[in-house]
Subunit: 639 residues, 2 copies
Amino acid sequence: MPFAFLTNTALDEAIQKYQDVLIGHGLRYRTEIIDTQNTLNRVSAHAVYARISAPHYNACGMDGIALDSKKTFGATETTPVKLGASDFLWVDTGDPLPVGCDAVVMVEDVVEADGWYLLYSAAVPWQNVRQIGEDISAGDMIIPSFTVITPASMAPMLAAGVLQVEVVKRPVIGILPTGDEMVLPTEKPREGDIIEFNSSIFSGMLTEWGCIPKVYPIVKDDLVLIQEALAVAIGECDGVIINAGSSAGRADYAKEAIQKVGEVVLHGIAIKPGKPAVLAFAMREGLPCCVPVVGVPGYPVSGIIVMDAIFKPLLEKLTYRTFGKAETIEAVVSRRLTSSLKYREFIRARLGWVGGKMVAVPLNRGAGVVSSFVKADGIIDVPQNVEGYEAGEKVTVRLTHSSEEIRRMLVISGSHDPLLDEVADIMRREYPGSMVASSHVGSMGGIMAVKRGEAHLGGVHLLDETSGVYNIPYVKKYFPEGGVVLMECVGRVQGLMVPAGNPRGIKGFRDLIGLDYVNRQKGSGTRVLCDYLSKQNGIDPSLINGYEREEFTHTAVAAAIAAGTADAGLGILAAAKIYGLDFIPIAEEEYDLLIAGDAYETEAVNRLIIIIKSEEFAQRLQRLGGYTLKNPGSVKLWN
Amino acid sequence: MPFAFLTNTALDEAIQKYQDVLIGHGLRYRTEIIDTQNTLNRVSAHAVYARISAPHYNACGMDGIALDSKKTFGATETTPVKLGASDFLWVDTGDPLPVGCDAVVMVEDVVEADGWYLLYSAAVPWQNVRQIGEDISAGDMIIPSFTVITPASMAPMLAAGVLQVEVVKRPVIGILPTGDEMVLPTEKPREGDIIEFNSSIFSGMLTEWGCIPKVYPIVKDDLVLIQEALAVAIGECDGVIINAGSSAGRADYAKEAIQKVGEVVLHGIAIKPGKPAVLAFAMREGLPCCVPVVGVPGYPVSGIIVMDAIFKPLLEKLTYRTFGKAETIEAVVSRRLTSSLKYREFIRARLGWVGGKMVAVPLNRGAGVVSSFVKADGIIDVPQNVEGYEAGEKVTVRLTHSSEEIRRMLVISGSHDPLLDEVADIMRREYPGSMVASSHVGSMGGIMAVKRGEAHLGGVHLLDETSGVYNIPYVKKYFPEGGVVLMECVGRVQGLMVPAGNPRGIKGFRDLIGLDYVNRQKGSGTRVLCDYLSKQNGIDPSLINGYEREEFTHTAVAAAIAAGTADAGLGILAAAKIYGLDFIPIAEEEYDLLIAGDAYETEAVNRLIIIIKSEEFAQRLQRLGGYTLKNPGSVKLWN
């Protein structure tokens, strides 16, 4: 079935239609009775009533004496009542109130004199007595139906003799990974293998939503096998996720297989990513309630979106939890964002509180770029009827980190260097709870990010061809009005990374002519250096194959060389070492930090400065290799 | 050791001092290596680096043909390039890029004609190829140290060949309940037994904070036994909670026992409740790091406060989680609140969004009233140097429910009737996520709560002695300016509850003379009725024993009679039935709902009206017994 047959149903409509059909086919939560001690975070299936009162007896509320209050009537400061030892009983807090007594006088108010006990004020009946049911009376409703049980609500249940509670059963959700090329997580996949990690993501999400995930073995792309596996899962679970192979064409196997054992409600939803989702259900023999079956697209980002947008609301019916609305925040979008009128689009974004405003920087939209979810702080939800946003427009972002965390995040944007990750790591170790987010957009990208107020600081290593000076001329050019600080960080050796043993015998930049090269993106400091080296060496870049092939990080360049798809690339020693490449030093450059003026005095930047001056940082640089330290943390230019 | 020896150290100072001593004695988190699939919600002990790239090979990004891009150079709309079958390979998304190819053209752009394949535009090198490391490059830092692992961060780890992760070990925290009178949860405790439920509360709290609780058997109040049990727990756990008996005097056993096996840092903290906490530690044989030992007071409310205020911050060091600040909210305190200058006080409060402002109603401060924690929506934190607040003053409340939940909570305050709990339960079943909070303050209390803007509505059944009319005269008197709606709810039979078999042979109100009575609090409709009945019957209340003994609910009165501490009390049939009491009908009264005008049109009140008109409600009333329905939900008075 080609994709043309997919519907393009709006998300809200799809959810409503799907849920209506499921409820029409008996979708229902189930319950179980468990010990009260094990009810933490479970959902009550009914109201819970107290079986006994708490206290369940009249209890003395003080250490002191218990007596019949009538014996104290008339006692005053001037005319104390005199009691004999047989007029009262000594009691401790929590003791049952003795028969014939209706009050407790605290020990401090009992004055002993000549074998008598004096009271200087009358006891009020029932004073200092915790009467039966003072806290909870038998028959009182302790919690109503469908209440999430907290530690504090377990206590009154146990105090009131409720030893077992009927709770909503955690639905078992089967996850069925399919695909010929899928392999279990491994350190040594072969070419063409795709590591099956979606079931781990989905399991985690389902666990957080109060379900019990059940992952089935990977099934090959074979209609009969998928259909059989599906039938087993439907028989064992309260809901089934079938996770297709990563290509679009294969998703249809899921649909066909579902149609053999159940019924498809909808195929194709107007969301991006996530369009080719299949919403279906199956009836289970002997049971009046249906089992929802959802075909989730294979690309992890699409899968996460479909799980969150479609499966999660469905679980409200099965778990009787209300997940509530995710926290949202208003942010200014950092750059123009286009979106199709055909789809409601979910775009991952990094957030930062920079220069007194919340800025959202859209991330790579690739459906396969799973690392974007770790980098993302939220999701921009672009409605179907919106064509996009201009830079600076306000957008609503659904948060994936707490707004508190985002507000204290130090946002670094600019040239890629592993030292930034090491700084982030040291910061988390030294200052628990501190947050650093860094994105790799090249040195010029860093300058523009600081200029546009998207980042607190950026790494830069830009050589001015005319003066031969690093960074300072650029800062002067792009910040004529000032407002930034350029801080020295490290000296760094750039060189040519080549396969181990240097099979092409490369000695310098000139030797690249005619070879396969892998370059960095325009605007990166390394690209500027590369262009400068070409000019200096009088080489026409078109003579170097792949000069236009661009990667965004040193490690990505090194990976391409290690994989044999390029003979050389310019980069840093640390990257070459990771991939076991040879390294031919070419130039030492100045890698500095450009810091927004209003960020310079903040606690986070102060911590960063302490760290780059620290022994720990120096040691980590030494381990990475290729760095020199002179005056890290000193100000080069206060513009 | 009497209480005079306790210090009164300020909370922040106590936490700081305790943590300093513990860290000085080697307090440290421990780590373990676990499979990446099991890392959900665990904390990374180190930065995690990618072991392989993702993709780990150059992967085709589209279904289509793979070729050497050079073969397509020069192709345009008018001069297509003609390819033979040997010039390219058909590929699917995810396939490895075949050797000799550097681009993929999507299938839609390949035009077949006469056995040739035409391309109408040139392929750019590396187009539609997911290059090695596009998502993650080997060596990249995926997450830094001390990061809570989410489903989305498990994915890049698995994609990058990280099969195991070193995480912070979940500390095992021993809980040692002590006390002669302590018994395991039971439905049939004997007089004087205290049900030991604190360890369930603490276990739940510790689980939520990322620990593994380990509950030990209850230990009798015996120094040697406690000391032995403590030594065992210290040997097996990373931290120990010793939970003293409920009386103050007994807490000292904990201290003495701790001193035998460890060292006390502090005893006595300037907080209320929670003052008599013991902060201590012990060294474990052969280990360089100490085990924190905290003596927690026995009253559950004190215990919860000490766990939250002192043990939780300590756990940040053991779990490397940052719990962050709890959500707080500004609220107006509904009534005068006094607090001692000697203590920082934590006062549970119910919150409600009423009449356009957030109102905090302080709850019973009793340290034993554990049900108050279920009722509480937050904790008012009264600093040590503050003597209290006047009604209407702003206070900061630390939330225990989410502010979103609180904003949609329907706040009911007034006369106690089990039907209100039934309404709340039906509402949660019919409208998932709806919240109802009701407090029992008597009919007059309900009127005042609505008047002061503390509640959306209240249950009232107030007989006007002069006119013999229910409720309307009161509403007119207390709301001369209008602004409320009085809505009919139910007719309700009041009667005398007496022990089963009516051993005193009570037939009517007159028979109460000389017997033991248990009354309701002043201002409750039942008390008004009782006072009216005394007058009508010409009885001097002082002739009825216990006329001044006050309970706050019908069930509490019934409980007192069932326990044999009173011969009779006025109340409703539902309460008598729960306790198996006989019931002598005396009067039928009108139980109505008084609704604040600006709440009347809200969704929550609309739902309430639908419910009290429903068949389900009528059935539940029938089960409770003693109610009549005429025109429930109709307006009696629109003032």
